[in-house]
């Protein structure tokens, strides 16, 4: 295996390397990809493609480590199903089957476990995808924060779509499926350490029904999909800008953010564009299909808040910029490390 390209100089791993932002990207591109994928220039997508007997499969797995296990609007079990369904959907693939593995902390009560098992089953059933297998490990008390879940999924890609940052063109539109930041802020508040309360719920949901509808309505115009989970919209769009060598120009005022998400972000000095989502996606769509795509999403329950939030430009390459109504411009960077509440 070619390891000449290893380029990761941090001497050990810290939380930032898992936070989905710059450090994550450095770890993945600098260490993991060179070993796993060798010389191939990697386009890191939510799901990988595998050819099997002439079919193009999407294949993905994600680990879920949320604390607390349950939060308003969802729980780790639901998250673990939706997250993997969404990664398949982002690959333009109809989900076929899931396998879940549980790493359980000794001492977890059966009722907590049963609640999550039921959540997994219910979330899978809701989107009509069977859980066909699993694995269970138990680790010593004090490890594993109660429960870690890993969900693997396979899906069948739709031959009508070809999704890749390489297809993204200047002039394409950027569409966002709904309000951002609900999940990240809900979980942050649910930890209780900040003593903040709000009527917020996680946005966790499977977005495959929306993607399926988009494929039906606008397949030829679909260029790229991404669920802005860890690292948020800012990170997902920076990755796009970098991979596609384009600029993403955002109309910041168009990005839907619920008041309570905004309030929490103002209090804590966070940027909603860096906050994780678990039921939203970004789509880049060619101009001819943007209107029908948006109309399609908006006509679906849960898609009412879909918005056109920006467009692709040729220059400045590799940048995400937000323009304000009064002519101010700011650079939107990837998340650096975990989003930390600040006082100054």
């Amino acid at each position: 295996m070619k390891t000449a390209k290893v380029n990761f100089t941090d001497s050990y791993i810290e939380l930032a390397h898992g936070a989905g932002g710059k450090a994550s990207r450095r770890l993945i591109e600098g260490l993991l990809v060179p070993y796993m994928m060798g010389d191939k220039p990697a386009e890191l997508n939510d799901a990988a493609y595998v050819e099997a007997n002439g079919s193009r499969l999407a294949f993905t797995a994600d680990s879920f480590v949320v604390n607390p296990l349950v939060f308003p609007g969802g729980s780790i079990g639901e998250l673990a199903v939706n997250g993997t369904i969404n990664d398949l959907a982002m690959g333009g693939a109809k989900p076929l089957a899931l396998v879940t593995t549980l790493i359980i902390e000794a001492g977890l009560t059966t009722s907590e476990l049963e609640r999550e098992v039921a959540a997994i089953a219910k979330a899978a059933q809701r989107v009509g995808v069977p859980v066909v297998g699993g694995d269970t490990k138990v680790v010593e008390h004090g490890k594993a924060d109660g429960l870690y879940i890993t969900t693997a999924g396979i899906g069948l890609t739709d031959p009508r779509v070809s999704l890749s940052s390489r297809n993204v063109q200047p002039g394409d539109h950027v569409i966002l499926s709904g309000a951002i930041g609900d999940h990240g802020i809900t979980v942050l508040l649910a930890r209780g350490e900040l003593d903040l309360e709000a009527d917020l719920t996680s946005d966790t949901r499977a977005v495959w029904p929306f993607v399926s509808a988009l494929i039906e309505a606008a397949a030829p115009g679909l260029r790229w999909l991404r669920d802005p989970t860890r690292g948020g919209v800012a990170t997902a769009l920076n990755e796009l800008a970098r991979d596609a060598q384009v600029a993403v120009i955002l109309d910041e005022e168009a990005i839907p953010v619920r008041p309570a998400v905004r309030g929490a972000c103002e209090i804590l000095g966070l940027d909603p564009l860096h906050i994780a989502n678990e039921g939203q996606f970004l789509a880049v769509i060619s101009p001819e299909y943007a209107d029908i795509a948006l109309k399609t999403l908006r006509s679906m329950p849960g898609g009412e808040n879909a918005k056109r939030i920006g467009e692709i430009q040729a220059e400045p390459k590799k940048a995400v910029l937000a323009r304000s109504q009064y002519g101010g411009t700011r650079l939107i960077d990837m998340l650096i490390g975990d989003p930390l509440p600040r006082i100054c």
Binding site: L189, L194, D195, L196, E197, A198, D199, R258, P259, A260, R262, G263, A264, E266, I267, G269, R342, I343, C344
Partner: protein
């Protein structure tokens, strides 16, 4: 230097007179109000919040005055003079 944010008092905690609950865009937090003990805070008052403490009571009157002034900018010379003379209240008084 110091991230501070306006919030509205939505509950005075009778059990613990050091604290009140503020609302920022639908986000609520119990904050310490000892630093404004001379302000006789009331339900509905707006305060500036920093690290879980109310630092200052916000004056709606001053805020409106500022916005009015600015909206007259470029439209009347008087407004410009006002901006120029815009100084501490107590010095004007």
């Amino acid at each position: 230097m110091c991230l501070a944010i306006p919030g509205q008092i939505v509950e005075m905690l009778d059990g613990d007179r050091h604290y009140a609950v503020v609302n920022v865009c639908g986000v609520r937090r119990k904050i310490n109000i000892d630093l404004l003990k001379n302000e006789h805070l009331l339900l509905g008052d707006w305060v500036l919040i920093h690290v879980g403490f109310a630092m200052s009571k916000i004056s709606e009157e001053q805020a409106n005055e500022q916005l009015n002034l600015l909206s007259m900018l470029n439209e009347s010379d008087e407004a410009i003079e006002e901006v120029q003379g815009y100084q501490f209240d107590n010095e004007k008084v």
